[in-house]
Amino acid sequence: MKVQSFELKPFTEESLRILDEEGRQVSHWDHGLTDKQIVELYRLMWVTRLLDERTLILQKQGKIAFYASSAGQEAAQVGSAYAMEPQDWIYPSHREQGVFITRGMPLEEIFGHFMSRSLDPARGRQMPGHLGRYDLHLITLSSPVSTQIPQAVGTAYASKYRKESSVTMTYFGDGGTSEGAFHEGLNFAAVFQCPVVFFCQNNQYAISVPLNFQMATKTIAVKACAYGFDGFRVDGNDVLAVYSVTHYAVQKARSGQGPTLIEAVTYRYAPHSSADDDKRYRRPEEVEDWQKKRDPIKRLRLFLIRESILSEKSDSELLEQLKEQVMQAYEIAERSPHPPLASFLEDVYAEEPWFLKQEKQEFVELYQEEYERGEK
């Protein structure tokens, strides 16, 4: 796909799409993906879905204490993350399993994180879902919504400052657009013309709050107007469209043409998190409707089969293989130890100051037994 030849209209109310719900190609943009790459997108979406399904089971079994599901949003996550190069920086939000998987974070680390094992790069410090791998340019997220947005802009500025070509992408939800940090971040990006892409997964709800109680605009993309750059609305369940629009925005940023806002219209199937009860605010039929009629994986599958890129048989083989892979990763994580107990007293500073040394010493003395258990 060449940036120049690609004609996208910003600020439309309709979502850009390549595939319709039945996986039929309805527009002819040159996304530039090979069949192999499209199958790879399909695989990544399935891995994300299967990880999600396994995690929800583990959560119900009490093996994972908390989980925010990404089911339904795979196309938005995988399609966008796939449009980046390894050197590009990613600031994810709180349900971006598909982004971590696409960028190459090993599944056993993800499970290790969910279960606070030593495999967790963050040493069990955070609630499940708060992943990060600095060496993969995946910035460890926090819970507060939208704080990552101005940070992503600063990271993009630093790349530009050093005249590197890397681009920064930051993820957030529809809810995240209401925070002041969203506004400040987008405005900074515009003023400093930073190579950054703002990727909003509009899944219709901020926990229980539907869009019309969050904002009075018809789209989220239109908000880019307030900063002087383009906003695009894309069907977030069409992985080819998501990839194409994101790739365009990434290349635009890379070539020095500044920031873009992307709104990917999608839906989450599960409650907000394992602590939520979505029946209190949405009808099960609404959820079913999205699951049955607009599922992103099903849609790509229909396309792949119709276009004979994938056979029914190799599809089911693939699925079996992926299930096995996910299960194995889980088992590796399960068998691995927790971090040392007293390690929660580390990493506050680069070097432990006197008071943390004291606190750690007191802790170790008092909890020596547990500590030793933890060491094993």
Binding site: R125, S142, S143, E179, V209, F213, R280, L341, V348, E359
Partner: protein, 324 residues
Amino acid sequence: MPSLPMVRAIRDAIRTLMLLDERVVIFGEDVGKRGGVFLATEGLQQEFGIERCFDTPLAENGIIGFAIGMAINGLRPIAEIQFTDFIYPGFDQIVSELAKFRYRSGGQIAVPVVIRTPWGGGVKGGLYHSQANESYFIHTAGLKVVVPSTPYDAKGLLIASVQDPDPVIFFEPKKLYFAPREEVPEGVYTVPLGVARLVREGKDVSIITYGSLVYVASEVADKLYPEGISIEILDLRTLLPFDGEAILASARKTGRVIALVEAPKFCSFASEISAFLAENVIEYLQAPIKRVTGYFTPYPYWTDAYYIPTLKRVEKAVREILAY
């Protein structure tokens, strides 16, 4: 009299206030249809209408600023911040505005806003669903700060807070939301702000605390009682203005004090209690004033159970100051 857990007592307080006074409105993220993530406002939108109980956009500066403007125009807003860990985007509105309006206007403008927010650890909430950040607010002149530890107190203090002419930050120890239960009278009653509750009389050691640690202190007292160690426990309930007299009286009596809080130590309210005593009754003190606090780290996820002071740590502190 119904037996309620704290979160239901809080809901009952809000409902009672709304029945009583048209000026009372409540809002925040997920407060409306969902009834709040802890269900503290369950059913209130149905009962009182969407103008009085409603969802807001996800924006804490907006929520608190909005509440301030309402109070200035005659309402009695209760703003819910979903977790106190998410109060910081609204910190400017609290510190620069809410706390200073009366003062900066020369007494012309009162801002009777109540900010309710789930607070404290012990629920495996990690860095951002566990904080005990009361110190930031206690350091801020113009605010009142409340932390109940029982369902009865929660209702009575919340009613008193909403009826108070000054802004109140009302911290709800979420660890206590669903247990224990307690008989809570129906209708209106208040527990006055600024008055501590003597949980247990004792003569050897005073433990001055609040929130869920009241129960840890009680466990320690129970455990050590058979050894003949008599522990006095003071539940402060209001941290600003705190009940200075009650603190001094207890310290004068026992001469040995533990200030027990969930927060990290430096500049915590444990430091305040200690400094207050060292300034006013040092001659009565027979041992160092011990602070038993959270560690000076962010709040960890996996080791949740070890972060806020445990029975073991409090017991050790008691023994140390007794052995002094």
